[in-house]
């Protein structure tokens, strides 16, 4: 008796058997509890009664729903229901097909008598004998149809003994599952009989090819690779080209000796059918192959036939990180097996239309690809291999006079060999679709999809794992982003919010450097940098070396050489001419300072403060700040005058009032002085002052791995080239173990803020720093006493108000700052790694979304 049943690792197992045949017991014994979906249980869930036949429709709807979720997630699912009727099994077969997994039937065929007696022992199963009899006859009638119904594996257990004998359900790996093999690989596009080019490419890739004796394993070639790399052929080895038989021999040798993998292409399959004697149309280059095969032995032809027959539709390598298939593969089909999967691997997806060249119109599945795995494919000849959503088509039409391309994995490096000649004239010119300056990815990125930003979202970042965006925050961000922000292609970064220092315990201060320094010390940081905080507007500047870079790297046409935007992604400038002049000046300064050469880059993203505040905040200053100052000054003066007159009449209590209004008057004066410090008229570029403080990213590099002194020094050298527009930021390095340095920086801050400065920002020496509990605040601001009047209101400093205001909590602000910081760095990294725009955009969008969380705006 059989002790085991084999099922594919991803399958839908349908138990078939009449009531009382022991399905539930069987399932419980051999499968995980969560793998088993029982119709009785579903009946109970929807009706509180597991025998309620009236609830069957609802129960099965639920059962199918759960099954489809499980299969979607790639989990074995067992259906514990009688399933004795063809109609009951049909939707299950369909379900398996929909999810490209294999249906398995396990029939428990137990004599009616035994089932009846088992049911008799269960008081809740009081349905009559006729029910069991009917089920049994339905089962008997349809059992032989199982194969025709679509079950790929069928097990029939004919007695309780046979059922009990089964000790284990063995799960077989699918042929396409090569997850444990992680390369390195050299993935090679459509060869189409171009034997010479293939030889040259393999040599260039570091393979050694030796001719050897023809035998069943070698087929005349022995290929080795010193670095233990494996070649992966994407199919379409044959047809159209000059020497398909030799290509076959070479590839068969390599596959047989384990130095290569191969997936089948549509041409290979057609040849296989031909060799098998099937009736196929001999065209599209097959005629050439047949001719070339004329001299080959029957033995070789048989082996070739067998080789082609055994090719597996696609492979999933490297823990699911790499998928190879001839025509590509959608995420939901990866690692699955069905006719539909095989067909997709071979032909891709077509719309059913025919284009002007008589070729089927292909549906560009890759433009909607959102999968985690990289997909490398061929099939459709393209002039250049290009990334699109982590997929790449490397069929560069060698046989049509293009080139033969290989992709090195994991290096993601392309290696190409030019075709020696045009072997076949293409029906459609290779570059017929290439009338744009933008890459496929950039063209696709021209339009973001709303599905990539709305709803509750989870973004995984390197710095802080998963960051959750709540739906209501996405809603708010969508409005800000679409109404006010710039072209999203420029928005590769948004700065995080910054928390102030803990509230000071000194009575006259709300914030003081003590607490900022103490925070970092408590996190185990020994060295910090204290930078003067400029009071202007935060501005992110992206500048390219030339217009060409704007097109190539950013995919933007006709929008100038860069962008300068605010912390919410809005264009900083309303005046296009001024904007251009400004960006030109920054570009020139970078050029003069040798920045492009030094960093081997043609673009840069800078984090800056752009002054004066009044340049961007003119309306705010007039409507709010100056208005308060103007009204208060007049009103307070008049009040004091009237109080003074009353005082002359010697009315009791007026003196205190005069004192109190005089104090208000002084605070208002301080307030007006404070905001005036940050205002000056701006008419031309020279009236601006730009203070960069982070060199965020350049080509290939995100500079968050450098310490802040590096950033300051790098910026200094650029500022020197245009000291009219640009200014360095004064800063001090402080050793937190050195009391005199701490006192020094406090004195510096006091002096700075007394002179009208906003305050300073304290940062750990390293851009990204970790403390005892993980990532720590990348910066803490410490604002001056006078400056805070324009944040907390002119009268905040009265002792009565101060008492109230000191009761503030920073927890939320700090948590936000960390999450936004992680998202910001993530967006830069994704951009630098050339990920699709939506991946960058989701982080930038995330920062905006988080910014809509309710936090005290004064912090």
């Amino acid at each position: 008796m059989n002790k085991e049943i084999k099922i594919p690792e991803l399958s839908l197992v349908v138990l078939v058997g009449i009531s009382g045949s022991g399905k539930s017991t069987f399932a419980k014994r051999l499968f995980k509890e969560t793998e088993v979906l029982s119709s009785d249980r579903c009946r109970a869930i929807v009706s509180d009664d597991e025998n309620n036949q009236a609830a069957s429709n609802d129960a099965f709807e639920l059962l199918h729903y759960i099954a489809s979720k499980r299969l979607k997630n790639g989990l074995v699912t067992v259906i514990d229901a009688t399933n004795v009727q063809t109609e009951a099994r049909k939707p299950l077969i369909q379900l398996a097909r929909d999810h490209h997994c294999l249906p398995v039937a396990i029939v428990l065929d137990v004599p009616e008598k035994i089932c009846q007696s088992r049911n008799d022992q269960r008081p809740d199963r009081d349905f009559g004998k006729h029910v069991i009899r009917q089920q049994r006859s339905q089962l008997k009638r349809t059992i032989r149809n199982l194969k025709r119904e679509g079950f790929r594996h069928i097990y029939i257990l004919n007695s309780p003994e046979e059922i009990d004998a089964i000790q284990v359900i063995k799960r077989d790996k699918l042929y396409n599952n090569k997850k444990e093999i992680s390369g390195p690989f050299d993935i090679i596009g459509d060869v189409h009989g171009c034997f010479d080019e293939l030889g040259e490419l393999l040599v260039n890739l570091g393979y050694e090819i030796e001719q050897c004796k023809y035998d069943h394993k070698g087929f005349g070639y022995q290929v080795t690779n010193k670095n233990d790399r494996k070649a992966v052929f994407l199919g379409d080895l044959v047809d159209r080209g000059p020497n398909s038989p030799e290509v076959l021999k070479l590839v068969m040798s390599m596959v047989n000796s384990g130095v290569a993998y191969c997936v089948p292409g549509n041409h290979d399959m057609k040849l296989q059918k031909y060799l098998n004697g099937k009736n196929v149309q001999i065209k599209h280059g097959l005629e050439k192959t047949i001719e070339q095969l004329q001299g080959e032995s029957d033995e070789f032809l048989n082996l070739a036939k067998e080789f082609l027959y055994k090719l597996v539709s696609h492979y999933v390598f490297d823990n699911g990180k790499l998928v190879v298939a001839h025509a590509g593969l959608k995420e939901e089909m990866q690692g699955r097996g069905s006719g539909a999967v095989r067909s997709f691997c071979m032909y891709g997806e077509t719309t059913g239309e025919i284009d002007e060249f008589g070729l089927p119109v292909r549906y560009n599945w890759a433009s909607e690809y959102r999968g985690r795995a990289m997909v490398v494919y061929g099939h459709t000849p393209v002039p250049e291999a290009q990334w699109l959503n982590r997929t790449i088509d490397i069929d560069t039409g060698c046989v049509f006079g293009g080139k033969l391309t290989a992709l090195r994995y994991p290096e993601e490096e392309l290696v190409e060999v030019k075709a020696k000649k045009i072997y076949t004239e293409p029906v459609k010119p290779l570059d017929s679709e290439n009338d744009s300056l933008l890459s496929h990815q950039q063209e696709l990125d021209d339009l973001l999809d709303i599905d990539d930003v709305v709803g509750k979202r989870i973004i995984s970042t390197k710095l802080r794992n998963n960051i959750t965006l709540r739906e209501e925050n996405s809603i708010a961000a969508l409005e800000v982003m679409s109404r006010f922000a710039m072209n999203p292609k420029w928005l590769i970064y948004l700065p995080p919010t910054m928390s102030p220092s803990e509230t000071s315990d000194l009575s006259e201060y709300l914030e003081h450097p003590n607490e900022a320094l103490k925070y970092f010390k408590s996190q185990g940081i020994d060295k910090v940098v204290c930078e003067e905080k400029h009071m202007g507007s935060r501005a992110i500047i992206v500048v390219c070396k030339d217009e060409n870079t704007v097109i190539e790297r950013f995919g933007i046409e006709n929008e100038g050489i860069g962008a300068c935007y605010t912390r919410t992604g809005r264009n900083f400038f309303n005046n296009a001419a001024l904007e251009k002049e400004f960006l030109d000046r920054v570009q020139l300064a970078l050029k003069k300072s040798g920045f492009w050469e030094k960093f081997n880059t043609s673009w840069v993203c800078l984090d800056t403060e752009l002054m004066p505040w009044s340049a961007k905040a003119q309306t705010l200053l007039k409507d709010q700040y100056a208005s308060v100052g103007a009204s208060a000054a007049v009103a307070l003066k008049d009040a004091i005058t009237q109080l003074a007159k009353t005082h002359n009449r010697q009315i009791e209590g007026v003196d205190e009032l005069i004192e109190s209004y005089q104090a208000k008057n002084d605070m208002i004066a301080g307030y007006s002085t404070a905001y005036r410090n940050y205002c000056w008229p701006v008419e031309k570029v020279d009236d601006f002052k730009l203070a960069p403080f982070h060199v965020l990213a350049t080509e290939g590099e995100v500079h968050t791995d450098k310490h802040h002194e590096w950033h300051m020094k790098t910026i200094k050298s650029v500022c020197k080239s245009d000291s009219q527009l640009m200014m360095e930021t004064p800063y001090r390095l402080v050793d937190l173990n050195d009391e005199s340095q701490i006192n020094g920086v406090i004195d510096w801050w006091t002096e700075l803020t007394q002179k009208g400065g906003e305050g300073m920002v304290v940062k750990p020496f390293d851009y990204i720093s970790y403390g005892k509990k993980g990532l720590i605040q990348p910066a803490i601001k410490c604002r001056g006493k006078e400056y805070l009047r324009i944040i907390y209101g002119p009268e905040y400093s009265s002792s009565e108000n101060m008492k109230v205001l000191k009761n503030r909590s920073l927890g939320r602000k700090r948590s936000l700052a960390l999450r936004e910081f992680a998202l910001g760095v993530e967006s830069l990294e994704r951009f630098v790694n050339q990920e699709p725009l939506r991946k960058v955009h989701e982080c930038v969008f995330g920062v905006l979304a988080l910014e809509s969380e309710a936090v005290d705006p004064r912090l």
Binding site: D446, L447, I450, V454, L478, E559, A626, L643, T646, S672
Partner: protein, 468 residues
């Protein structure tokens, strides 16, 4: 912040009886966010002056304030409320001088109806959107001599210009109770910014304090509208009652921008919607998506027509959508009607599958809110991907702007407009977009046409080629 009322009535100290406040004492009353002090800088036979001085604690103010919708996050903390005459002053008047305001004087009842010469100084009074012109229009018809001093925003930056603040001096002969009523209503009306939530009871207060004078005031509409902070429903209600039930159907509804432009815009907008509705109807469309549906004016019209079986409203502003839900009484809709309509948040610069499969799209006064360089994305979303069979789209005709007298040269009709097009610019864009995407386009005008500059608004009707 400071109200000074003085009289030269003989004996002037009668004022203290009327105010029911002792002239030789400093007195204070509590307000919700602070205090008001009452004192007399002068009190003799010839001249008596009483001051009402507000002492608002700005921090308290924040605690008591509701979430206002100011774009400026710090507006709560940095604002002029403690220093100006506003609705706080009205509250202080009613608290400190309640008997006088209500025309009572137990000790000297004969004084109540006595007309006296008064001089009133208010420092400072904000009068946004109207200024000196408005102040005069409000006070002069009541018989006041008006004297105004206006202040610079900031003497350090003279280029910032004048502020909205004035010291207002009024003089005239009045009964004190009337004078106080005038101030009670007109101060907040000028300030145009209530510190508390406006509800129906506010209409009652207004009518009560305005009894006997507001109904005949030539500026009653504006006073009412501003006093009730432009809340449309309340304003109509109050005006109806002022006009003795003689309801005015065309009273302007509250809109955020310039009132002068508004009135024209209002009727123009109705015209635009009617015309759009007609086009949609003629097109035979059964399903319609209204992109940028706002508060749902067009949706409401569409719902009434049974030809439209499926209606989708989309807007980028969630708050606006919430208002649309309210205005359409969505939650109370019968199920059959509810089935026909749906509202979603979305943006026209993102591809959106929810917009697929509609017969028609209405895009009314929307594109001018997009930056010009984002228009390409918009075109792709609509014409390349969603591909409705008919698209009705409107935008302002820039040429017509010169006929709006109140509009500054080279400005836009709305602060959020990113561009406005001439007729040629619009036609060129529409024809290009149509050609590139397989549509035919027809241009029509909306509103009364001027022979030189055309109609105020323009409409393009796009039709997808070869569809059954």
């Amino acid at each position: 912040m400071l109200l000074n009322i003085s009289t030269t009535h003989t004996p002037a100290t009668d004022l203290s009886f009327l105010l029911h406040k002792h002239p030789d004492k400093l007195q204070s009353v509590d307000l919700s966010s602070g205090k008001a002090h009452i004192f007399y800088p002068e009190a003799n036979q010839e001249r008596c002056a009483a001051c009402l001085l507000l002492d608002i604690n700005p921090i308290e103010l924040v605690k008591n304030s509701r979430n206002n919708n100011n774009d400026f996050a710090l507006a709560h903390y940095v604002n002029d409320r403690p220093y100006v005459a506003s609705s706080f002053m009205s509250v202080a008047i009613s608290k400190a001088f309640s008997t006088a305001l209500n025309g009572k004087c137990s000790k000297r009842p004969e004084l109540v109806d006595q007309v006296m010469p008064f001089q009133v100084t208010i420092s400072v009074l904000p009068a946004p959107k109207g200024g000196e012109f408005l102040i005069r229009k409000l006070f002069e018809p009541l018989g006041y001599d008006v004297n105004l001093e206006r202040y610079q925003l900031d003497s350090t930056f003279p280029e910032w210009g004048e502020s909205k603040y004035y010291t207002l001096q009024l003089s005239g002969k009045f009964k004190l109770k009337d004078l106080l009523s005038h101030l009670y209503v007109l101060i907040p009306s000028l300030d145009n910014n209530k510190h508390y939530w406006i509800s129906q009871s506010e209409v009652e207060k207004l009518l009560q304090k305005g009894e006997g004078w507001l109904g005949n005031h030539p500026e009653k509409e504006q006073i009412t509208k501003r006093y009730l902070k432009g809340i449309g429903g309340l304003t109509r209600n109050a005006l109806d009652r002022l006009l003795d039930g003689d309801g005015d159907e065309n009273s302007p509804e509250a809109e955020e921008s310039n009132p002068e432009v508004d009135e024209v815009k209002e009727t123009l907008h109705q015209q635009r919607l009617r015309q759009t509705f007609q086009e949609l109807k003629i097109s035979g469309a059964k399903s319609v998506v209204d992109l940028g549906c706002g508060e749902g004016k067009l949706l409401k019209m569409l719902l009434k027509e049974k030809q439209f079986e499926r209606i989708l409203g989309m807007d980028v502003s969630y708050r606006t959508l919430e208002k649309a839900v309210e205005r359409l009484h969505y939650d109370e809709m019968p199920p059959k009607q509810k089935e026909r309509i749906n509202l979603i948040q979305g943006a026209l610069t993102y591809r959106d599958k929810r917009l697929d499969g509609f017969d028609a799209a209405a895009i009314i006064e929307v594109i001018e809110h997009l930056d010009l360089n984002r228009l390409k994305a918009f075109e792709r979303v609509i014409f390349q991907f969603s591909k409705p069979k008919v698209v009705v789209l409107t935008t302002p005709n820039k040429e017509y702007n010169q006929l709006f007298e109140t509009m500054a040269l080279d400005s836009f009709r709305h602060a959020d407009h990113r561009f406005e097009w001439t007729r040629k610019e619009f036609r060129d864009w529409a024809e290009n977009a149509a050609n590139a995407n397989g549509y035919q386009v027809e241009i029509k005008s909306v509103g009364e046409e001027d022979k030189n500059v055309g109609a105020p608004s323009q409409m393009a009707i796009f039709k997808l080629n070869n569809h059954e």
